[in-house]
């Protein structure tokens, strides 16, 4: 019971009226900025940081954490309704979410996403409560070879994620990998494809690429087919997902929670990789993988659950190791320092009230978000009833503004326009932008970690197979890569067998 006492004390901290109020404030702000593409939680927290100087450390962090996971809820809304992923972790939600919206089932998609997010978030918090110290070790055993293997597996999964032609998906993915090489080489300082432009020295930012390809590209494409876009679903009902939908996505939500929790602990692209992996897993498991990309509820449920679970578990490295896993966590680190608390291995012992107060506030915050989002879904869905002629320019404007706010850079706005045109052309010629964006995100991870591994392993490729985690990941890679070939081989045999039986049957009939 010694373990539970500080946990219960933590609930006492959260239920103080001030803390509850700041928790509510945090999640509302988070949800709003999640809806606005571009303006992410990191920038918002940076702007609001001075507001927290005057309050208790635990209150400040409760609010900032609320902004972070609240944004994960809000980010889904634009992905589903406008095909505008605000963050890397909601790119895969676009595929099925937007199709559902087109079919007049936007409410179902958003409802499932809210429920999935709630479950994923809650599982993440329970994991954080009981497993944090144990799981922190998992992040540490992920070295460069493990990241390289994971990125390799991710890139392979990209090919299975797309629903169109395989060769076109590969071409798009190759283009994405090429884009990932732009920028200053991290190992030698050499300039690659920057054309002497300082804005490209750090490579191309992910968000303008995704905003251009998905957001602006979609708007341009719809303008061309205006007559078709005018027939946007007139009736958008069923805010609450049907029992059948819930049943269909319950497995996806369960698996997404666990996957998201573990992958979210990894520094870097944890939330992104987990949302992709959850999507790919569901597609692999599905009896009819063809439904994915055409409006499958699991395609929304799995990634949205996984990215929320990951958002929660990304607190583990910060609170137990003192290592920020992403930009937002870096700001939390800064916020804690300002409050006189140094995040690190000693945090739980030295400031148990802070640790458990923040963790427990997430239970409350998630419940608040669920209560808020279900009725708001109906409001947001009405956006779809706005005429395209009005909606398109407004969306374009929000997209461009959002792109500017990320780095306060006009260059990023130009990038959105460029990739908007690329996205339009891709769509026109039957290429999916998804594989391009995902390969772009993973390409950088793969290259840097492969080179880092070779340095660590003294150039010995065999070293990848001597480490248990990277060896298992590579084994999965091989299994996934060879599975289609194996499957078609089996199918051919079966087919051959079937023909035989048919022949014998026919022969019998004749007799």
């Amino acid at each position: 019971m010694d373990f539970l006492q500080p946990v219960l004390d933590g609930f006492g901290v959260v239920l103080a009226p001030t803390n509850l109020l700041y928790c509510l404030l945090g999640v509302v702000i988070g949800m709003l900025i999640g809806v606005l593409p571009g303006l992410g939680p990191a920038a918002t927290i940076a702007i609001l940081l001075p507001l927290t100087y005057g309050v208790e450390p635990v209150t400040a962090i409760i609010m900032l954490a609320g902004i972070f996971y609240g944004a994960q809820y809000g980010g889904t809304i634009t992905s589903v309704l406008l095909r505008l992923p605000g963050e890397a972790s909601s790119v895969v939600t676009v595929f099925d979410g937007y199709m559902l919206a087109k079919q007049g089932k936007a409410g179902t998609a958003l409802g499932i996403a809210a429920i999935g997010s709630f479950v994923g978030g809650t599982v993440g918090i329970i994991g954080l409560t009981f497993l944090a110290p144990v799981v922190a070790g998992f992040a540490l055993s992920f070295g460069p070879p493990e990241y390289a293997a994971l990125a390799l597996l991710g890139i392979l999964l990209v090919a299975t994620i797309s629903s169109g032609s395989k060769s076109k998906a590969l071409i798009a993915a190759a283009f994405g990998l090429l884009l990932a090489t732009v920028g200053r080489d991290v190992f030698t300082g050499a300039e690659r494809f920057t054309f002497g432009n300082l804005s490209m020295a750090d490579g191309i930012d992910f968000v303008p690429v995704a905003m251009g390809l998905f957001g602006l590209g979609e708007i341009l494409y719809n303008l061309e087919e205006r007559h078709r876009a005018a027939k946007a679903p007139a009736k958008v009902a069923n805010v609450w997902p049907s029992r059948a939908d819930l049943k269909q996505s319950s497995g996806a939500i369960g698996r997404g929670s666990v996957l998201g929790f573990f992958l979210g602990i990894l520094p870097g692209g944890g939330a992104t990789i987990s949302s992709m992996a959850a999507y790919a897993l569901e597609k692999k498991r599905a009896k009819q993988p063809g439904r994915f990309g055409k409006g499958a509820v699991e395609g929304v449920a799995a990634p949205e659950t996984a990215n929320n679970a990951a958002a929660t578990s990304s607190f583990i490295p910060l609170l137990t190791l003192g290592i920020p896993a992403n930009a937002t966590m870096a700001l939390m680190f800064g916020a804690l320092l300002i409050q006189g608390v140094t995040p690190g291995p000693q945090l739980v012992d030295q400031h148990p009230d802070l640790f458990w107060g923040v963790v427990n506030s997430m239970y409350i915050g998630n419940i608040l978000l669920l209560i808020m989002s279900i009725p708001l879904v109906g409001v947001f869905v009405r956006i779809l009833r706005v005429r395209a002629a009005i909606l398109a320019p407004i969306t374009a404007l929000i997209t461009l503004l959002g792109a500017y706010t990320i780095n306060n850079s006009m260059f990023d706005v130009t990038l959105v326009v460029f990739f908007g045109i690329v996205g339009y052309l891709m769509k026109k010629f039957g290429f999916e932008p998804g594989p391009l964006v995902l390969a772009f995100v993973l390409g950088e991870l793969l290259e840097a970690n492969l080179r880092r591994s070779l340095l660590v392993l003294n150039g010995d490729l065999g070293g990848f197979f001597e480490r248990p985690i990277s060896a298992s990941l590579l084994a999965i890679f091989l299994a996934v890569a060879l599975w289609p070939a194996l499957q078609s081989l089996l199918a051919r045999r079966k087919a051959a067998g079937a023909v035989e039986t048919v022949k014998t049957q026919k022969a019998k009939e004749k007799v």
Partner: protein, 332 residues
């Protein structure tokens, strides 16, 4: 319509004071006193060439917070990350030199980055007015306890060690490369994207050692999860009083990160003086001093002239050291 001529007059006044300001640069200080009374009359932007959350960003916010109270106007911090901060600096250089556009500058951008990147990307102190120096951030070499190394001497005896750095053209890379050469240590250098991943890698024993900024590793050092081996400042760091410096150990590696506040070239002298007073008043506040303590920063609040001469000297020193020991920051 009524406001239109007013705006014109304002513009005219602005142009006139700009002319006055230019004469002030020529030595005619008395002529510009009028504009000093008016300054500052609107918010002053502070551009930071790093993403929100890092130590550069936090320092800029802490300084801006204090100075805005002294100056009586808002001082919003604008993050413009890219190219180690060169992007932000080049942008501020292009702004009007009227004292409403400031930037924070990291010494490494002037002293170390030019050793690693092409000439076109390098920036020079000649292109800015340095208002005041801010603080010093020290680098520490940390080891995983399992590596069994506690001193530089242990390192020279060990073989096949891997050393993480925080990236190309950083003080971490320079300091570590110099140590390896000067002490004759055999090891492989592995660059990471920034401090946090490098620290994670050492904690997980993916690499045995890494050189990082103190703030990135202090909590882990206190918890006994990382062993501090050596500090690269010339004098002992007050937050790690028991850890020897490389200088004490007999090596010539004076590498620290310094930060300063700068304005575009040609900013009027009286405006510069007003800003300097505001920053100096900030340094005296308890809140700012506390901020430095919490972030493990050593104050280095020297004048702009001192910053220029110190950094220029360091740049020459690093160039000479890399040539002497045949180190190229561009190769691994």
């Amino acid at each position: 319509m009524k406001y239109f001529p007013t705006r014109r007059i304002l513009l005219g006044t602005a142009a006139a004071s700009a002319v006055l300001a230019m004469t002030a640069c020529g030595g005619n200080v008395g002529g510009a006193s009028g504009s000093a009374d008016a300054y500052p009359s609107k918010p002053i932007n502070v551009t930071v060439g790093a993403a929100p959350g890092g130590s550069t960003d936090l320092i800029a916010r802490a300084v801006a917070e204090g100075a805005s109270e002294d100056l009586g106007v808002a001082m919003p911090v604008v993050n413009k990350p890219g190219a180690n901060g060169a992007l932000a600096l080049k942008e501020v250089q292009g702004k009007a030199a009227d004292g409403y556009e400031l930037a924070t500058l990291n010494a490494s951008l002037i002293t170390i980055t030019p050793l690693a990147v092409s000439e076109a990307e390098a920036v020079s102190l000649d292109d800015v007015e340095v208002i005041v120096g801010l603080s010093q951030d020290d680098y520490v070499l940390v080891a995983n306890p399992e590596a069994g190394v506690k001193t530089v001497k242990d390192l020279t005896a060990a073989k096949d060690l891997t050393f993480g750095t925080t990236g190309v053209g950083t003080g971490s890379q320079l300091a570590q490369a110099l140590l390896l050469k000067q002490a004759g240590i055999k090891g492989t250098e592995v660059p990471f994207d920034s401090g946090a991943p490098a620290v994670t890698a050492v904690l997980g024993n993916q690499v045995q050692l890494a050189t990082v900024q103190l703030g990135e590793a202090k909590a882990q050092i206190d918890a006994g999860k990382l062993v501090p081996v050596v500090v690269f400042s010339t004098e002992r760091n007050k937050f790690l009083p028991d850890v020897p410096t490389a200088t004490e150990e007999g090596y010539d590696i004076p590498v620290s990160q310094y930060r300063a506040m700068v304005a575009p070239k040609g900013t009027p002298e009286d405006v510069q003086a007003r800003l300097k007073t505001a920053f100096e008043n900030t340094f005296k506040t308890e809140a700012y001093q506390q901020f430095n303590e919490q972030n493990l920063l050593t104050p280095r609040e020297v004048s702009g002239e001192e910053v220029v001469s110190e950094w220029t000297e360091l740049a020459a020193k690093y160039k000479q050291l890399t040539e002497k020991y045949d180190i190229s920051l561009q190769e691994n």
